[in-house]
């Protein structure tokens, strides 16, 4: 049986799909054409990836006129996060994440 979690992990296990999510995180509500811009992938390939992301509920779409807009939906990722990280660990994990980010940012200077 394919569970919803399987779909989420499968959808995330691909660099192109993660890249599409990164794009939506930077700018939400993009059309298919906008998502194709600046990508080496064909329109068909992007469409295929978006279908998998939608099935995993990582992307939500809304119609605006004739356009279909794509939105990043991080709710399933949050569910995975809360499943394995206990309430007392969260602060420590967040602090480590912040530390890593701060250290990596200072490397860029």
């Amino acid at each position: 049986m394919v569970t919803h979690d399987d779909k989420v992990f499968k959808a995330l296990a691909d660099a192109s799909r993660r890249q599409l999510l990164d794009r939506l995180r930077k700018k939400n509500g993009l059309t298919l054409s906008e998502l194709c811009d600046g990508h080496d992938m064909s329109r068909q390939a992007v469409t295929k990836h978006l279908v998998l992301l939608e099935e995993a509920n990582l992307v939500t779409t809304a119609k605006q006129g004739r356009e279909k807009l794509h939105y990043l939906n991080p709710v399933p990722i949050n569910e995975i996060y809360t499943r394995w990280i206990g309430k007392f660990e969260r602060k420590q994990v967040q602090a480590l994440h912040n530390l890593k980010q701060a250290l990596e940012e200072s490397n860029d200077d």
Partner: protein, 157 residues
């Protein structure tokens, strides 16, 4: 038509009536959202997201549309900065044996501070609501929210 900046979707093993109650009944919202949602939920009425027992409001607004158990549209603002208001739409429908809840947050003012806060808040609130409705147990959302304020300094200390 709402100018949607964010759309959050969650599928919940529940009924539309229960999901509607989870948004509009303070007994529910207190458990998974940390505060009480208070209003008569009629079009034109005020609503607030407030500390329990008549405490101070965290979010205030008006009910723009109310069609239980399908659709609720609210304005949304920090009482300390009501000029930075925005609009939230809750859409509840059923897909096979699941309820699909869409939370559409948009119409933010340019440079909105609230927009930066809701991107952290909504995924937590919706995961917690799903957990409460499906398992009877909510996520300790206040503990999670504090994570955002954990700083590198605290790690060093």
């Amino acid at each position: 038509m709402t100018n949607a900046d964010f759309i959050y979707t969650t599928y919940i093993k529940s009924t539309p009536e229960k999901v509607w109650a989870a948004i509009t009944n303070p007994e529910f919202t207190r458990q998974y959202w940390g505060h009480d949602n208070i209003s008569d939920w009629k079009k034109g009425s005020d609503w607030k997201h407030a500390d329990g027992k008549g405490g101070s409001a965290r979010i205030i607004g008006k009910v723009l549309e109310s069609n239980p158990p399908k659709r609720l549209v609210l304005t949304w603002a920090d009482p300390a900065d009501t000029a930075d208001d925005s609009k939230v739409t809750f859409e509840i429908d059923t897909v096979q044996d699941l309820v699909r809840l869409n939370v559409i947050h948009g119409d933010f003012k340019p440079g909105s501070v609230m927009a930066t806060k809701v991107v952290i808040g909504w995924p937590l609130v919706l995961s917690s609501m799903k957990s409460l409705l499906e398992t009877g147990k909510a996520i300790d959302i206040m503990a999670l929210k504090q994570c955002g304020s954990a700083t590198v300094k605290e790690t060093a200390a």
